[in-house]
Symmetry: C2
Subunit: 348 residues, 2 copies
């Protein structure tokens, strides 16, 4: 680092949906940047991007791009991270990787600062940013787990298209307009770019996010299951997920069922905990129709929780509705937040 | 009835979203009609409606409207049913009521023909048609319950706006167009017409369908919980629901978790059962991305099931994705189907 308190930052995938939000977040948070390097695949190299009133030219990411970089924020797909993150580390950079490439690597901390900030200390050059739908759920559930224990989660998700990138958002926009005009719905991106079949997302619901695995679950569902156990340090947690892509541009919502270990826990106790949890906002008053929605949470960094209620049959069971901007807390903000914790604690 | 095999039919709420589908379904099924009477509130009286190439004028429903009617299909709101269904019964009509007015009345059978057709026999003039989201779930789960027992259901729904009527569908259409044009989203119907607050549904998800109850659940959620127990004859069933309104025009989807009583049940056994169940179609092949969606099921009378898989932690737990046209099996078709069973069995 060039001075005591500023850092050379690289953003890999600077023109993507998450990369754009990373730049906005670095700017909003006034992150102490010395030099900023915007990197991408050769396809997007040469594009111009504004940051704090200055125009930057995006360069093609190569191993040499990471010379003198202190922190590299990766969000350009798993294959780019697999190829270039080790090169960045070799050159002394700390990598905060937003892809799934290293998340389950036992040598790589998988971090949601509100949950397991201390895991950052164990990094060996790479810190992984969890999957968007995982992050908001564990941020909401961690205070409950800490106070009352937790042995079971069943989650069904309501996920926005921006999680599949700018092309997917454009597909939703074009299909929606075509549908309203009485036209056909042409699908070439969703549910999964590169998978065999594509289905319309406009005014539809697709129960597939990422590719199917051998066990009949999608990779997105297995990410939620495996990442939650790793982040919360609960390998024995019973957890299952059903992940659904919906015609929303921004913010994922989740219908979450949890069973706590302690008996006689009340809804009010959960509301009190959620209300004072870091990074989490309680929006829960059925009497006045107060609950979070994707539109009400878009553009905000917090995780919003409402509809907290007890299961009618299971004394230790509770239902929650968890909503957050998938590009912010689900991706860009959580990555920048990790970088903030790294520099605040001198864990570089 | 005028001749041995045709019936005088009244449709109450003939201009509504469900009423229109009732007429289409009576026509598609070539229901044996002698005289058809189209009724509505005074607001819609005088409107012209086509049926089998003939124009009918909608009349205001009054107690006298039901003279000589054999079967009256009600779908004009709970207050209309409460006022006029007893008048229809008094005049000798059998009422099939699509509102929530009589569903939990112990003297009124609540019927999904694939599940509890025989309950029709106990009617005292009124048969209730269950809530849309309940119908498709119990149709899919009944064969599983019969063969393997069932002691627990946790469901999260993905529900279309047409369940809230034509005005709600129009609101989604107008908001969607406004959003795509960069305009504001004005909400005056959803989530619940007549409730205090209204929120935009376009590109959003609203975790409220019908009004909130004292216990923090919505009435829609309580309908799913209570109606399922009544239809399946399982008062001790553990069941909870989270109901969410989405920017879909037609068809509800449901992420359903069930626990069966029998041990060692396999996914293949469930697929075999679902595949041969009446009124239910298996669409389930992850390897070729086959699963039902709202758009693929719209306009069809069946219930479609996919994504059947075992819970990874609970030996007796399974997850399913259940989709059906909320205006057909969820309302109009189930009502007409009850009428068909009534006349086939001479249970009038």
């Amino acid at each position: 680092m060039s001075h005591a308190t500023t850092y050379n930052i690289a953003v890999v995938g600077a023109t993507g949906a998450v990369g754009q939000k990373m730049l906005e977040t670095l700017e909003d948070r006034n992150f102490p940047i010395n030099e900023l390097k915007l990197l991408s695949s050769s396809r997007s190299a040469g594009k111009k991007v504004m940051f704090k009133g200055t125009e930057y030219t995006v360069e093609e990411a190569t191993p040499e791009s990471f010379e003198k970089v202190d922190i590299a924020l990766f969000s350009a797909g798993g294959s780019v991270s697999q190829k270039l993150a080790p090169e960045a580390v070799k050159r002394g950079a700390l990598v905060i990787d937003n892809t799934s490439a290293y998340r389950m690597d036992e040598n790589v901390p998988l971090v949601v600062p509100e949950v397991n900030e201390d895991d950052i200390k164990n990094h060996k050059g790479i810190i992984a940013n969890p999957n968007c739908s995982t992050i908001q759920m564990v941020a909401a559930l961690e205070p409950i787990k800490q106070h009352f224990g937790m042995n079971r989660i069943i989650v069904s998700t309501y996920q926005a298209v921006s999680g599949a990138g700018n092309e997917a958002a454009e597909e939703l926009r074009e299909q929606s307009q075509s549908f309203l005009n009485g036209g056909d719905l042409e699908a070439s991106i969703l549910p999964v770019k590169g998978d065999e079949k594509h289905y319309p997302i406009a005014f539809n619901a697709l129960p597939q996010i990422d590719k199917f695995q051998e066990n009949g679950y999608t990779f997105e569902e297995m990410k939620m299951i495996n990442e939650t156990k790793k982040i919360m340090h609960t390998p024995a947690l019973h957890i299952s997920a059903t992940c659904v892509r919906l015609p929303l541009f921004t913010s994922h919502a989740e219908s979450v069922y949890v069973e706590v270990e302690k008996n006689d826990v009340t809804v009010q106790q959960l509301k009190d905990l959620i209300g004072k949890a870091p990074g989490v906002v309680l929006e829960d008053d059925p009497a006045t129709q107060v609950y979070p929605t994707p539109l009400s949470s878009a553009g905000k960094r917090d995780v919003f929780v409402g509809r907290i209620r007890k299961d009618l049959d299971h004394e230790n069971g509770f239902h929650l509705w968890v909503v957050s901007d998938n590009l912010l807390k689900g991706a860009a903000w959580n990555s920048v937040q990790i970088a903030e914790r790294v520099v605040a604690n001198q864990w570089l």
